[in-house]
Symmetry: C2
Subunit: 723 residues, 2 copies
């Protein structure tokens, strides 16, 4: 291993400081446990509430159990493939198959724990909201913070444990550790994709099914206990919005750290600063955990607080955490890197995340013009509502793309890169500049503990509203849970900004890592340089394939929801027809059969899109070589980002336009405008909760898959056999 001699850090013996990851991890997990205990002390309320909550819990548990048992089989197949590749030297080492497993397990665990606490908190939130809005927020937010801190705690644990195994048990140097660990993200991404797609299909199939028959055909309100799909709908919030989101952000968090490890080890290898560049993302993450924890203590308010002061306190918590993290990261970055460049990149990431969050809110909140204009377009019917929403979503891609573009350029230049191709600095500083893009992503996600808490409490509030409705807690409680829910939508917009922005930056960092890996592996071969210029037809075709993958993936996830929802529609109609006494409220509908149908539908429909993400990059590489893979990663990242923003924002705007009309505008509930808005919202459901967020994972999974299978592609692609 020629890199050994130089790869050892010099300053501060930084290579021995990676145990700080354990500190961050333990603090986060202990805090999550404390918060969990706090939540569990609250009462679940009346017997009926307990019964409903336990039905939801059972449904969610049953779904996750079956989801995991399906996923395990797929993981087993991939694991065996990886073992075979490892045995035939098509993988760098035999750790990768096992790291694939731990990534999957931790990601699943993050989702599972989040779901557990969410299903334990929904009735407690409803009951607490019965007493006051503030108590309701307290329970829901604590529940969200269990999830937030579990995700970051598990993420840091996974990263730190493997780092120490590779360094001390295997004796790897910085470059080897980084290049091995960047492949570890694949397990987490793969699991996250299943969780997001499966959960997303479940939740929207139940939602669409419940709405189409219950609300539209039978004319009963949302969450009415007479609707056979209502429990499935509430289960869906937990398995999709909570478990799916947990797995998703676990993957973003770990992915951004690992990609930055790899970029840092390459960029600073020659200066012997590899360990420093690797310690920085870990240190920033740990600082983020501690600052997030402090931030949560600021989320408290008077007992008689109104919605506005609740929003203020939530924002105070997240912004204080972010500012604090930015302040503390400054000296650490300077000491580790010897300059301010990386720090500016971190700031660029943080600011870009906030800015994207702002524009997400601008385009989807009914307090701004776009969503109000969308509500106006319901006046001329469903068709103009759809055109309006699609147009709004497409238009809303502009701001995030400009922001990400600026963040990329600023991070690259600040970290030492040059854009003046003719200058001597260009090649010399190129990889340092790219390190800036990675560390910007880490900066964006550093306070994930608290941003995720504000994001994850939304579905809990949503569920609490359902339980309040089903158990007849009265209008006032429902108003409070609705207030919590709508508050959640606002804060979730910021969270989404961070999630989507970090996904793009992490995917780009992984793309660059892929190029580094390929360059390193082909360096020894006879003249096997790769040519990544955009006019290379392999690169061009790769970009086309990446765009295709995005659209086909979005199509499959949408049509998956459609097919699953149609089976629910049929079942709900059957129950209304065949089970006497449902509409009179004298007989309980068969909730379990709807949960079961959603489960089967989701599991069935999640397979194809998820496998695409593995198969397409590998096949493309085997036919057209690593250049086409780089093109594919570029194409899927850019198109995936744009389509994710388009779909998420269109869906969000339709949802809020409907709520805006329900608040009494344009004739209010039951008007023709409302009917048009409901159609928009139904189209938006798979947009914003299935296809959109899944695309964030797709773009990263493609990159890690490509890295893992890189040796195979380099050695066995068709172009390498050509003259």
């Amino acid at each position: 291993m020629p890199r050994n001699a130089k790869g050892v850090g010099k300053k501060l013996q930084v290579e021995n400081l990676f145990w700080i990851g354990f500190i961050g991890s333990v603090v986060a997990l202990v805090f999550a446990f404390v918060q969990r205990n706090k939540v569990m002390k609250f009462s679940e309320g009346t017997e009926l509430m307990q019964k409903i909550a336990s039905s939801i819990r059972e449904g969610a548990n049953a779904y996750l159990k079956r989801q995991y048992s399906t996923v395990i089989k797929i993981f087993a197949v991939v694991f065996v493939i990886l073992l075979i590749l490892s045995a035939t030297h098509m993988l760098d080492n035999f750790f990768i198959p096992f790291a694939f497993l731990t990534g999957g397990i931790y990601s699943a665990l993050a989702g599972f724990i989040g779901m557990k606490i969410a299903t334990a908190s929904n009735a407690r939130t409803a009951n607490a909201a019965h007493e006051s809005l503030n108590r309701g927020l307290n329970v829901a937010f604590s529940s969200g913070s269990v999830m937030g801190f579990t995700v970051v705690g598990l993420g840091l644990l996974d990263v730190t444990v493997w780092f120490h195994i590779l360094k001390y048990a295997a004796g790897y140097d910085a470059a080897q550790i980084a290049q091995t660990m960047v492949m570890f993200g694949m397990g987490a991404s793969f699991m996250a994709l299943f969780a997001r797609v499966g959960g997303g299909i479940f939740t929207k199939a139940a939602d669409v099914g419940a709405d189409l028959v219950g609300k539209v055909e039978a004319g009963i309100p949302e969450d009415d206990p007479r609707n056979p799909a209502t429990i499935a709908d509430n289960v869906g919030d937990n398995v999709g919005d909570v478990a799916g989101m947990g797995a998703d952000l676990y993957e973003s968090y770990v992915g951004s750290i690992l990609a930055t490890f790899a970029l840092g080890a390459t960029a600073f290898f020659d200066e012997g600063m590899g360990w420093n560049a690797m310690l920085l993302p870990l240190a920033v993450a740990v600082v983020g955990v501690l600052c997030s924890l402090l931030g949560t203590f600021l989320v408290r308010t008077q007992e008689n607080a109104d919605q506005r002061s609740l929003l203020k306190t939530l924002r105070k918590g997240t912004y204080t955490a972010a500012v604090l993290a930015a302040v503390v990261a400054a000296p650490i970055t300077y000491v580790l890197m010897g300059s301010w460049g990386a720090y500016v990149a971190i700031l660029a990431g943080l600011i870009a995340g906030c800015a994207i969050g702002y524009f997400t809110e601008y385009f989807t909140s009914d307090t701004y013009k776009p969503t109000q204009t969308l509500a106006d377009s319901t006046e001329t019917g469903a068709a103009t509502t759809i055109i309006g929403g699609l147009s709004l979503g497409m238009q809303s891609t502009a701001a995030p793309i400009v922001i990400i573009g600026i963040a990329i350029i600023v991070a690259f230049l600040a970290a030492g890169g040059s854009l003046h191709t003719a200058s001597a600095a260009y090649e010399a500083s190129f990889s340092k500049g790219l390190y800036g893009i990675g560390i910007a992503a880490v900066g964006m996600l550093s306070t994930l503990g608290i941003t995720l808490a504000t994001d994850a409490y939304g579905p809990v509030a949503d569920n609490a509203g359902g339980i309040a409705e089903m158990s007849g807690l009265g209008e006032e409680v429902r108003t409070r849970t609705d207030a919590l829910d709508s508050l959640g939508n606002t804060t979730a917009a910021t969270g989404k900004g961070f999630a989507i922005g970090s996904a793009a930056l992490t995917a780009l960092a992984l793309l660059v890592s892929y190029v580094d890996v390929v360059n390193a592996k082909t360096a020894g071969m006879a003249g096997a340089a790769i040519d990544l210029k955009l006019t290379n037809p392999a690169v061009l075709v790769g970009i086309f394939v990446g765009a295709m993958l995005t659209f086909v993936f979005a199509s499959l996830t949408m049509s998956g929801v459609q097919r699953a929802a149609q089976s629910i529609v049929v079942e709900v109609r059957r129950q209304f027809r065949e089970i006497a006494g449902i509409m009179e409220g004298t007989t309980d509908p068969d909730y379990a059969s709807c949960v079961d149908l959603c489960t089967r539908g989701a599991l069935h429909e999640m397979i194809a899109p998820s496998l695409l993400a593995i198969i397409v990059p590998v096949i493309t590489g085997l036919i057209l070589g690593p250049e086409a893979v780089v093109g594919l990663l570029g194409g899927v990242t850019v198109t995936g980002f744009a389509v994710a923003v388009f779909m998420s924002n269109a869906g969000g705007a339709w949802d809020n336009a409907k709520k805006y009309i329900e608040s009494g505008k344009h004739g209010g509930k039951g008007s023709d405008c409302h009917k048009a808005a409901v159609i928009g919202d139904t189209v938006g459901d798979p947009f914003k909760d299935t296809s959109g967020p899944s695309l964030n994972i797709l773009i990263k999974l493609c990159s890690t898959v490509s890295i893992v299978f890189s040796t195979l592609v380099i050695n066995f692609n068709l172009t390498s056999f050509m003259g």
Copy 2:
């Protein structure tokens, strides 16, 4: 000019053979004139029919007059800017501003003549269909062929005239001619974009407006003379589908020839084969004209023919022309180039065009499963209809992308390129391979004369149906015009395949030309090499911006239709309310005011999206340099292609799903399924007739704009001032 000595061709004195372009041009234009005279001999029918036809004619003329007078102002501004650039040596020579004008004028002329003959043929088609289906086809197809041959005739004229001016009046060599002429496409593209966007907004605003109030609210049938927007609707078919399409395909045709000129001159410069490589696309085009002409003579059938034999005869015409062109092109290509490589590329283009056409038909025709499944999804309402159509459209991007990908790789390899980056052949043969991509596009469009004829006759049949309805010609005539219309939809699918496939290939050829231009211009500068590798942040950000441009452009064109349509809705409602006797048929509605509103709306809404295509590439270049422009062109080509396919096919499928239901399936007209299908069709209108086809032009306009402004960007971009 150091290139002079070598640039002169050796074999066959090919440099003196470019007059063949005049032959092709004259033959095409004379044939178009003959066909026109043939059409004019038919009678326009009853007095009422003549009156209606003349209203449509007047409306279409009035619109085009105002559109051209608006566009002239914008052209004047750009012309002055180009003159200033030319005077300050920011343009290669002073021909470019004038070529910009001729490109615009010829493109406008192609659209204008097409529109003239279409508005002269609609009543004649209706009247001929009164006698027999075959006579109706005869008039409509002859009218379509006037447009088809006018487009190719004018295109060849423009190219050949300028070639001879540059060669003989200016004394340019092959490379200089090619590099100058590749900029000439900008005028044609710019005009085409205005025609497509303006016409597209006009036609869909009228269509949506007429449907929303007339069909849905007032419950009167399509094309009912009581509907105040019905004349505007029929005018729209002419200014959007005919004039817009003419300008669009004029631009594709000329663009593919000019891009191939540029690629050929660069690739074969060293071997002194530049003239040969430039003559080839012209020769292929001329061959295509002659074969198309022969093909039109095959389009005839017995007097009592049914719809199926009509389709057969139309297909016989187009396929015979294509096969004939392929056969004749073989010896010409071999003689000119001395090998079969370019010929295989031409075949790849032709086959890819047919294959994309097949899949377009598969996804949008109700004889195949996708559209039937879409019709099924109307059973659960409008929301599932929309989700189904969007999902279908996204899925349908897969086949065209795979086909284009294969065509690119085959054309590149066949023309001599290598994908094995490490081989010695790679760099040496790179530009020859890229020439293959250009010549494939020329091959795809060579028989445009006849494919466009089968495409352009559809709107004439559509209009004929309208006139038959309005003048009360009876059910039987309407059935025949509907048959002609539906036949038109089927053949148009093939035409669309060629249009969209050639747009992608031409855009890529132009992208490569841009890189050649920049390389040539920076070659003399001190170390100013450009770095086009995908990991260059400027390239990456450029790709992001290209994707953004696609989505924002699609959003603006869609919302433009929406706003214009809403003004029509208000006006039609006003007329129903204020003018007594409309519904009883005793008073004529005020048709002119709707035409006027559509005109104003279209002209107002077309400006912003069209200017974007010029402004964004230039601004991006000035900030981030030519690398970012290349990224942008790659991003907009790939994303634009995918979104164009998505929108066109989703729109086509909704349209045909509606017609399928109207044929009696799922409850037929007036059923709930039909209502859902109408909503889908209304959403699909701007998809398939405004945004989708405009994107084809956008991707090429961005490239030519970038080439024209390349000197400015190279000299004054921000990165060149960096250290």
